[in-house]
Each structure stands twice: as structure tokens, then as C-alpha cells.
Amino acid sequence: MELVQIQRRLVDYTKSLFMEGFLDAQFLQLQQLQDDSNPDFVFEVVSLFFEDSEKLLNELTIALDQPNVDFKKIDSHVHQLKGSSSSIGAQRVKNACIAFRNYCDVQNIEGCLTCLQQVKQECYLVKNKFETLFRLEQQIMASGGSVPTTELGF
């Protein structure tokens, strides 16, 4: 595929992620922070997020499986996940965490379990999206091109 075509694809793909709510403006901020001195910055931060979220989701699964559920602990984990997803612009994960915390506040175990599933699902989805995004970027770089900056109408 021609370089220009891949670049076009990347731009369209990125736009769609914003349209579908997977990403919000914070992701743009991340991209803005990336520069020649640190060309993998976004990749590194996103990777950190998925490492971190995997640990948190495991902890949450274990915590909700206990005979006496420690809601304070759960809230703390979800707070952390909400914070880090917000920091990378993973909007749908963040929103799922907000819903999760609401059920935690009222100590509704069933609600929490459902939310945990949703958060896991959203993490899985956005992970795939990012992988596609990075793959497209790599293709562009490999063809000697530069990654177009994200410009959005809104």
C-alpha cells in the first residue's frame, strides 16, 4: 500500500476512535507531548497503562470474589484505574470506572460484578484499537514517512 494511503488510513482511524468515544482530548495531549527526543512516548505511556490495568483488574476480580467484600479496597483500585485511563484519554474505560464506583459506594456486589465485566471489556476493546493505531504508525515509519498529526474538527 502506498505511504499516502496508509497515512490516510491512520487519520481516518484515529478520527473514528474519537467519534466512537474510545479516545478523548487527553489523548491529543499525549500526542502533543511526543517529540523527536522521545518518539515512543505515547506507546510507552499506553503500554504502562495496560500493564497497570491488567494488575488492577486481577486484583478487582479477586477482591470481588471474597466472602467479605472489601469495598474500600475495591474503590481504591477503581479510583486508580479511573485516574490512569483518564490520563491517557481512554474515555470509555474511564466512564465504566465511574459507573463501577457508584455501585461500590452503595456496596452493590452484583452491580460491581457487572461493572467489572464492562471495564474489562472496554480495556480489551481499546487495547485492540491502540494496537491497530500503533501498527499503522509503524507501517508509516517503515515506509520512511512521518505520522500525520491528529487534527480534529471539534
Binding site: L30, V45, S87, I88
Partner: protein
């Protein structure tokens, strides 16, 4: 970068320094002259937020040190083992009597002096919600220590109730900022850093041997004043008092501009 250029102009006006530095140049030279490379200590338990904050600050040409807890921050600042943090290193440090016995400890053990020699921190940014020592606890410890004049900014990932953000402001924080921070937030931080620069120019820094133009002229003025006038002697008997009153004047002037705007709340000054 525009940010750097504007701070360049202000600093050059204030301290009349002639040098121009590339943003990429490292901090040592800048730190000595308190010029272009402010040193920020960032405290956050989230590895992602630390990475982000570090990048934000570096992109804005600040020097950054990141730690993951309040305890680590205190350790870094040399406050951890000192209960009485207001004392200077030479007078109260327990290590002074045992320095001969522990030869390796003097250089590596920052915790034995209330202020690490030569360490310059221009701003401390801390997360509010951390396990163990919270950002508020850290703030209180800092304000009760020899580092009390360093501006502190508290950050939080959620819109905490105003009673909490006010508590932080009353505790001495400059501002309470919402995470995730953005480049535009760094402009506010620049203002606090420049303020701290101005304060440190007019303060007597007990531990500092730096030649500071303002500092020297204050001393000279005091000597002249004391010799010439009894009235002034009362007011300016030591240059320290002179500088404290200058500081007070500064803070009252700056209060209004310093106070962050809290939505829906009138902040009485």
C-alpha cells in the same frame, strides 16, 4: 518554545542576567543562577501520572525529579529523620557528633540534615490521594519544615469537594489542580515558580552562600540605615526582618492574583 521565551524575558528583567540558554541545556548552570531551569519535585503514586507529569515538565524545560510517595519526597528533601525540621543542618543535626564514625553516611544520608546541601527545589507538585501519606499530609509536613517557602501545588484526579481543596489552600498550597494536567496548566505553574524566584532573591537564605545581588544590596542598605537613623533601626534592625516584611508585603499584594478561582465560592481575603 513560547513558554520559555516569556519566562526568559521576565527573568532577565529581574536578575539582569545576560546569558541565553537553549532549552535542551541541562540544569546545573541554570540552577546556580536560578535562571531558566527550575527544579520541580513531583510526587504521585501512579506510574502513569508520574510519566506524564515528568514529560509535561520536561517539555516546558523544567528539571524534574519524580517520587512515588510522600515519604520518598520527605526523604529526598532530607526531612525524614528530623522531627524538628526548622533547625538548620549545622546546629541540630544528630550526625554532627557522629560524623567521624560514619564516614560514608555524610554524603549519602540526606536524612540526617534538615536541608540537603546544594539541593534546590523550586516547586513541589503532589497528588492529593495517595496511599499512606496523603498530599495534604505531605503539604503540612513541608510547611512546617525548612522547605516551607517552596510553593506546593496539589493535584487530584477528581473534583474533590471544595472543603478539601480549601483545606489544602489553607494548609499553604498555592493551588489545587485537576488531573490530567495539560500544557496549559503549566503556565500557571510558571507563575508560582517565578514568584518563588523573586522571594528567594529577597530572602536571606541561611544556608546559601550564593552571591545574590538583591541580598547584598539589602545588607548594605541596612547598614546604612542603622547608622543614619534610629527610627529605621527599629524597623530594620536586621536585614532578616527587613526581608520578612518585604515578604509579607509581597504576599498581601499577590494574594488576590494567587488565589485560584473556586467555582461558586467567594474566597474572602
Amino acid at each position: 518554545m513560547e513558554l520559555m521565551k516569556s519566562s526568559d524575558n521576565i527573568i532577565q528583567d529581574r536578575t539582569q542576567q545576560q546569558h541565553k540558554q537553549e532549552p535542551e541545556m541541562q540544569a546545573q548552570e541554570g540552577q546556580q543562577e536560578q535562571g531558566h531551569h527550575f527544579h520541580v519535585l513531583a510526587v504521585d503514586d501512579s506510574v502513569i501520572d508520574r510519566k506524564l507529569l515528568e514529560k509535561l515538565l520536561k517539555v516546558s524545560s523544567y528539571q524534574v525529579t519524580c517520587v512515588d510517595s510522600g515519604d520518598k519526597a520527605l526523604e529526598y528533601l532530607g526531612l525524614l529523620n528530623n522531627l524538628d525540621s526548622d533547625s538548620t543542618a549545622s546546629s541540630s543535626s544528630p550526625s554532627s557528633s557522629s560524623s567521624s564514625s560514619s564516614s560514608s553516611s555524610n554524603s549519602s544520608s540526606c536524612s540526617q540534615s534538615s536541608q540537603r546541601e546544594g539541593l534546590k527545589v523550586n516547586l513541589i507538585m503532589t497528588d492529593f490521594c495517595m496511599p499512606g501519606m496523603s498530599g495534604y499530609d505531605l503539604l503540612k509536613r513541608l510547611k512546617g519544615s525548612s522547605w516551607k517557602d517552596v510553593p506546593v501545588v496539589v493535584m487530584s484526579s477528581e473534583n474533590v469537594p471544595s472543603r478539601i481543596s480549601i483545606r489544602c489552600l489553607e494548609g499553604g498550597a498555592e493551588e489545587f489542580m485537576l488531573k490530567p494536567l495539560q500544557l496549559s496548566d503549566l503556565e500557571k505553574i510558571e507563575a508560582y515558580l517565578l514568584k518563588s524566584l523573586h522571594l528567594s532573591c529577597t530572602n536571606i537564605d541561611k544556608d546559601d552562600d550564593d552571591n545574590n545581588a538583591d541580598h547584598n544590596s539589602d545588607n548594605n542598605n541596612d547598614k546604612v540605615v542603622n547608622n543614619d537613623s534610629n527610627i529605621d533601626k527599629g524597623n530594620n534592625s536586621t536585614s532578616m526582618n527587613n526581608n520578612f516584611s518585604k515578604r509579607k508585603a509581597l504576599s498581601s499584594e499577590d494574594t488576590e492574583s494567587r488565589r485560584p478561582k473556586i467555582k461558586g465560592l467567594a474566597v474572602a481575603i
